[in-house]
């Protein structure tokens, strides 16, 4: 009979497997279906802190915490805005970038939660994304808990970075910086 500790490890392994299997597809689907934009791999992407907006979202379960960090360059947000017909002014640029990254993170996070709910017995609490302007998310830093990290581009210089950290030790939410 499995011990409680073994069961917990099994749940965490199932969650991580499910995330690895689905996250890239989810992100590509969002861009393709909603904006008709194809994501290309961008292994050499440079995403400067001062020219990017990051949203991070935490899915929490009693046994595991999943932190999703979605970072986009301003050029990426501009392309998406143009694609949906927004003619932006300088005054609204930052609000627009925040809106784009927040909406994308929400969609990916909610869809990921649905995928994870297919793992028996799991239900994740879902926080509102926190927005970080001009600053990398701690979960982008090298760590053995990073289960997925990939840079994409929709055109040269229009990059997106997705990072996911699963941490079975901490289930407390990230400290909010700015709520959307």
């Amino acid at each position: 009979m499995a011990t409680l500790e073994q069961s917990s490890e099994k749940v965490s392994a199932d969650v991580v497997d499910s995330i690895k299997k689905n996250i890239e597809r989810l992100v590509r689907d969002v861009f393709l279906l909603m904006f008709n934009l194809t994501l290309f791999d961008a292994p050499d992407a440079v995403i400067d802190d001062e020219d990017s907006v990051t949203a991070r979202l935490v899915l929490r379960h009693e046994k595991i915490k999943v932190c999703i960090s979605f970072r986009i360059k301003s050029t990426t947000a501009e392309i998406i805005a143009k694609r949906v017909g927004i003619v932006q002014t300088d005054n609204q640029s930052l609000a627009l970038y925040q809106d784009v990254v927040c909406e994308l993170t929400n969609i990916v996070g909610n869809n990921l939660r649905t995928v994870l709910s297919e793992v028996p017995g799991l239900y994740f609490d879902f926080d509102i994304p926190n927005i970080v302007v001009g600053e990398a998310c701690p979960c982008e830093q090298p760590s053995p808990n990073i289960v997925f990290k990939k840079d994409f581009e929709i055109s040269p210089e229009a990059h997106i970075r997705l990072s996911l950290v699963c941490d079975s030790q901490g289930a407390s939410p990230a400290s909010p910086i700015q709520a959307h």
Binding site: V30, L33, M34, A81, D99, C102, I107, N111
Partner: protein
Amino acid sequence: MPSIVKDSRILIVDDSLIIRAMMRNLLSEMGYSSFEEAENGLVAWEKLQKAKSENMLFRIMILDWSMPGMNGLALLEKCREDRGLDSMAIVMLTAISEISDMMLAIKKGATAYVTKPFEPQKVAEAIKQISAWAETIGHT
């Protein structure tokens, strides 16, 4: 002759600028010209009440579920309890895609449910179906 249904007023309720812009474009491409926007449930409720008092009811509301303040589900419930708004078609547009949530929205009175990420074409199809239904039963 202009379509009666395409002259119908539509309210877009979503806290995201991007989603509202997508919906505006989509409705324009479909030939709708009369639509308004609200960034949350409270603003939407005020617009709905004002429209009702002026006898200028919205025929369709495209409604996001997750919003700050009054969320989409709460607004849906209020509308279904309000004489005058109870027959308005409501399309729930949401990233919450679990079956139990869809069932809840339909039970509370949503006319259609579209999940994000959505193809704009899917939303257009839902609106077309609702418009056809409204035409059949003679709503203006």
